[in-house]
Symmetry: C2
Subunit: 526 residues, 2 copies
C-alpha cells in the first residue's frame, strides 16, 4: 500500500539530517580519494557509468539515503507508475512515457487500448514514413526527394528533440546514417521562423507540426508562417507537412497534413522525446534503426531504475544525493556540465525537465510545503564553461553541486596531436582535473589564489556518445527527476505555473487590460 507523505514527515529524513557532514577535501585526498573513485561507482546502460566519489557522501550518508528511499517507497511508487496508476493526480492522468521504449511491468490498458501496443503502432507508422521518404517513395510534388526535416513545436516538442538531434548529428554523419538535416522552429518571435526558412530549401523540406492539443498558440502561428512561405514558393503545403498530435485534436484528421502520428495525455511534453514527438523527426533525420537503438538504451536504463538497492540504481541514487544537497546541505542550484560539444543543448533540455517537473510549492494534495523543492538547473559544455562561469563555481560564496558528463572517444573520429596529446585527451584531462579541483581545492598564501574545495560533483562516463548511450542518459535524468518528485511529494507531471501568463497574454491581445498590464502593453506598442 503506497502512502504519499511529505519529506519532513519521514523519520529517515530526520535521521539523514543528523548524519555527520563528510569533509570532502579530506575524503578525496590521497589514497582515500583513489578508493572512493573505485568504490562509489555504478554501471548504467549504454556503456555508461555513474561515479559519485566526489559527492559529499560516505557509507553513513548512503545508508541514511537508502532508508529514505525505503520509507518514501520510491520503488513501489515507480512500480505503480509504470503499471498505469493515475500518478499525475492533479490532471487525473497516468504517466506512461516509459512505455514508449518498453514494457516495464503489467500491460496498461486505458480507454480500452493496450498502451504499449498503441505506442509501438505509432512508431511503426512513422518508421514507414521515414523509410518511404528516404527511399524516394514519398517526395515533393515535383517527385524530388526531401532533404531537410523541420520540427515546429515549443517546450517539450522542441527542447528534447532538438537536444537529441544535436547530440547525434555528428555521430550520424560519421556513420553515414544522416539521412536528412533537421531544423527547429519554436519561438513566437517571427525572426526565428524567418531565419530558419531563410536558411533552408523549402521545396525539399518536410515540416513536422507538433502540438498535443492542436491549440498551442506559438506553434499554430509558426505553422501559418511556414504555410505562407510554402504557398509563396508555389508549393502545396499539405504535401510538405505532417502532424504529431493527440487523436482528439483538430489536427488529427485534417487534410492539411500528409500524415498524422499520435501521442496522448499520458505523456507530458518534457518526457516526450521517445514518443512520436521525438520519434518522427529523429527517424527522418537518422533512420529508424538509429532511433530504435536510442529507445533500447532508454529501455535498458529504465530497467535499472526498478532496482530496490540504491547502490545498483543510478537514477535513484542520483536523485537521493540531489535531495541531500538541496534539503540538508542547502544548495539552491545545480550545474550540468557535459564535456561534449554534441550535448550543447542537453542542459537546456534538463532545465525544462527538472524545473518544470519539480519547481512546485505545494504537495500532490495541494498543501503548502515547508522545504525547498526543485533547484535551478543551468549549464554549458566544458571546456567552454571553464572559461566562463567556473570562476563562481570554484570561488563564489554559494556552493553549486555539479553534474559532469564525459566520453573517452569523440564522435567524428578526427583529431590532432598538439604538445603531445590529442584534443580528446585534453578534453578528458580537463574534466578529470575539474572534479579534483572542485573537491580538494588548494591552499595558497595569497587568499585570492586559494581554493577552499569541498564542492561536490558526480560524473557520468561513457565510451562514446552513441544512440544507445544517449537513450540511457535521457532516461537516467527523467527517472532521477521522477524519484525526486516522489521524495518531495510533489506532482512532477503537471505544470499549472505556466497558465497565468497565457491567460494574461490573451487579455493583452484582446486589449482587455487595465492598471500595470495596460501600461506595459502601451510601452510595448501592442
Amino acid at each position: 500500500m503506497i502512502s504519499w507523505k511529505n519529506l519532513d514527515a519521514l523519520d529517515a529524513y530526520q535521521e539523514l539530517k543528523k548524519t555527520e557532514r563528510v569533509n570532502l577535501v579530506e575524503a578525496m585526498s590521497g589514497e582515500s580519494g583513489a578508493e572512493r573513485v573505485k568504490k562509489y561507482s555504478v554501471p548504467m546502460a549504454g556503456g555508461l557509468t555513474y561515479n559519485y566519489a566526489a559527492k559529499q557522501v560516505d557509507d553513513d550518508v548512503l545508508a541514511a539515503l537508502a532508508k529514505l528511499a525505503d520509507e518514501a517507497q520510491l520503488t513501489e511508487k515507480f512500480e505503480a507508475l509504470y503499471n498505469g496508476e493515475v500518478i499525475n493526480t492533479g490532471e487525473k492522468r497516468r504517466v506512461l512515457h516509459q512505455l514508449t521504449r518498453g514494457q516495464l511491468g503489467e500491460a496498461v490498458v486505458a480507454d480500452g487500448v493496450d498502451k504499449r501496443a498503441f505506442y509501438v503502432e505509432q512508431q511503426k507508422k512513422y518508421k514507414e514514413l521515414a523509410d518511404k521518404v528516404h527511399a524516394g517513395e514519398i517526395t515533393n510534388a515535383a517527385g524530388e526527394k526531401f532533404t531537410t526535416v523541420v520540427q515546429i513545436g515549443i517546450g517539450g516538442s522542441d527542447l528534447g528533440p532538438r537536444a537529441m538531434y544535436l547530440a547525434l548529428e555528428n555521430w550520424a554523419k560519421k556513420n553515414n546514417t544522416l539521412k536528412m538535416e533537421a531544423r527547429f522552429i519554436s519561438n513566437v518571435d517571427p525572426d526565428d521562423a524567418a531565419a530558419v526558412l531563410d536558411g533552408i530549401d523549402v521545396a525539399h523540406s518536410l515540416f513536422i507540426l507538433v502540438s498535443k492539443s492542436g491549440t498551442t498558440l506559438e506553434t499554430l502561428t509558426n505553422e501559418s508562417f511556414v504555410k505562407d512561405a510554402l504557398t509563396k514558393a508555389g508549393l502545396d503545403a499539405s504535401k510538405h507537412m505532417a502532424a504529431v498530435t493527440s487523436e482528439t485534436s483538430p489536427l488529427a484528421k485534417s487534410d492539411d497534413y500528409l500524415a498524422a502520428f499520435f501521442m496522448d495525455d499520458y505523456i507530458g511534453g518534457r518526457y516526450s522525446s521517445t514518443s512520436a514527438v521525438g520519434g518522427v523527426v529523429l527517424s527522418l533525420a537518422f533512420g529508424s534503426e538509429v532511433f530504435e537503438e536510442f529507445l533500447s538504451g532508454a529501455a535498458a536504463e529504465d530497467a535499472l531504475s526498478k532496482k530496490k538497492n540504491i547502490l545498483e540504481n543510478p537514477a535513484m541514487l542520483d536523485a537521493l544525493i540531489g535531495v541531500y544537497e538541496r534539503n540538508v546541505l542547502g544548495c539552491p542550484s545545480t550545474a550540468v556540465l557535459p564535456y561534449s560539444q554534441a550535448l550543447s543543448r542537453f542542459p537546456a533540455h534538463l532545465q525544462q525537465l527538472d524545473m518544470e517537473s519539480n519547481g512546485k510549492s505545494v504537495n500532490r494534495f495541494g498543501e503548502p510545503l515547508d522545504y525547498p523543492t526543485g533547484p535551478v538547473i543551468f549549464g554549458e559544455p566544458g571546456t567552454n564553461g571553464q572559461h566562463s562561469f567556473y570562476q563562481l563555481l570554484h570561488q563564489g560564496t554559494d556552493i553549486v553541486p555539479l553534474q559532469f558528463v564525459g566520453f573517452k572517444n569523440n564522435q567524428m573520429g578526427v583529431d590532432v596531436v598538439i604538445q603531445g596529446s590529442t584534443s580528446q585527451q585534453k578534453l578528458c584531462a580537463n574534466v578529470a582535473a575539474q572534479i579534483v579541483a572542485f573537491a580538494c581545492g588548494k591552499a595558497d598564501e595569497n587568499p585570492n589564489k586559494r581554493f577552499e574545495g569541498g564542492r561536490p560533483s558526480s560524473i557520468i562516463i561513457g565510451d562514446q556518445l552513441t544512440p544507445a548511450a544517449l537513450g540511457a542518459l535521457l532516461s537516467h535524468f527523467e527517472n532521477k527527476v521522477m524519484f525526486q518528485g516522489f521524495v518531495w511529494n510533489v506532482n512532477s507531471f503537471d505544470q499549472e505555473g505556466v497558465q497565468l501568463g497565457k491567460v494574461l497574454a490573451k487579455r493583452v491581445l484582446a486589449h482587455e487590460t487595465d492598471g500595470a498590464l495596460k501600461m506595459y502593453s502601451d510601452l510595448l506598442d501592442i
Copy 2:
C-alpha cells in the same frame, strides 16, 4: 579620496536592511501599479528604456540605495577606473575596456602610449582589413573573395563576439549589410572544430585566431586543427588567418598570419567585445560602419553611467537593486529573459560576464567576505522559456529575480496575422503578461493553480534590436557588473578561480598524477 570598504561596513547598508519590505502584489495592482510603470522608468542609450516598476522597491528603498551608492563612492570609483587608475589590484592592471568606444575622462597614458589612440589605431587597422576583404582586394590565393569568417577563441574571445554576431545577423541580412557569414570554434572537443569545418567552404574562409597571451591551449589546439584542414585542402594557411593578440605574444609578429591586431592586459576577455576581439570578426561580418554604430551605442550608455543620480543612471540603479535582492532579500540566482530570438546567446555572455567577474569570496585585499556576492545567472529567450523553466519561476520554493528584454519591432520585417494579431504582438503581449503575472500572482481555490506573486522583475524595452541598441545593452550589463563589484568590494577584473583546473589538467596530460586524479584519468582512458 576613495576608500574601499566591505558592504557590511557601510552605514547605508545597515539602513537599507531596516527599510520596510515592499508588498509587490499590492504595489503592482490597480492604479498604483499603473503609476509605478510610469514613474519607475529611466532612459538608456540606443532608444532603450530601463523600467523597474515590478522590482520590490519603493521611494524609501530607492533613497536607501542612493545613500549606499554615495557611501560606496560608486561614481568616484568609476571615475578612477576610466581615468586609468589600477583598479584590477590583484593583477596590478588598469581597466580600460570603455576606452575602446570613447574617451570618458582624462587621457590615459600607459607604457608611454595614449591608450584611446592605441585602441582607435587598432580599429582603423581592422576597418582597413574588412574594407579590403569586402572589396576583393584581399582574397584567397586563387584571387577569389572570402565569404566566411571563422573566429577561433574561447571564453571572452568567443561568448561575447558570438552573442553579438547572432544578435545582428538577421538585422544585417534585412539591411543588406551582411558581408560575410561568421562561425565560431571554441571547445577543445575535436568534434566542435570538425563540425564547423564540415559546414563551411574552407577555400573561401578567413580564420581569426584570438588569444591575448598567445598561449591558450584550447585555442592553439583548434588553430592546429584548422591549419591541418587548410593544408589538406592544398591551401596556404597563412593566407587564411589573422590574429588578435597582445603585442608581446608569440603570435604578434609571426608570418603565420596575414595580419595581427592588438589588445592588451587592460581589457579582460569578458569585457572585450568592443575591442579587436569582437571588432575584427564583427567588422568583417557586417562592415565597419555597423561595428561603429555598435560602439557608439555603448559609448552613449557609458556616458549615462557617469551620472551621480541613481535615478538617471540605469546601470548603477540596476546594480543596486541586484545587491538589494542578493544581500537583503536573499535571492541566490537571477534569470535573464530576452524576448528576442536574436539574443539567444546573450544570456550565456552575461553568465560569463557576471559570474566570472563577481563570483568571489574575498575582497580586493584578499580578506574573506561574510556576505554573498555574485549570483548564479541563467536564461533562455522567451517565449521558449515560458514552455520550459518558468514553472519554477512562478511556483517554485525560491524566488528568482528576473531581467526581461523586449523590442516593439522585430528585425526581419516578416510577420503573419493569426487570430487577429501578429507574431510580434504575441511576443510583446507575452512579456507584458509575464511581468504582471510574476508580480501580482492570482488567487485560486485550488492551491495547485494559485500564484503567490511577489516575484520581482525589470524590463529593458527598445524599438528594435539595432547595432546601437545592442551596444547600449552590452555596456549596461558591463557597467552593472562593475558597480556591483564596487559595492561588494571585490575585484571584478581577475579570475584566479580558473587557474587550478588548468594546472591539474596539465598534470594529467603529463601523467604526473596520483590518488583520485589518477583514478579519474584511468577511467577516462587518458
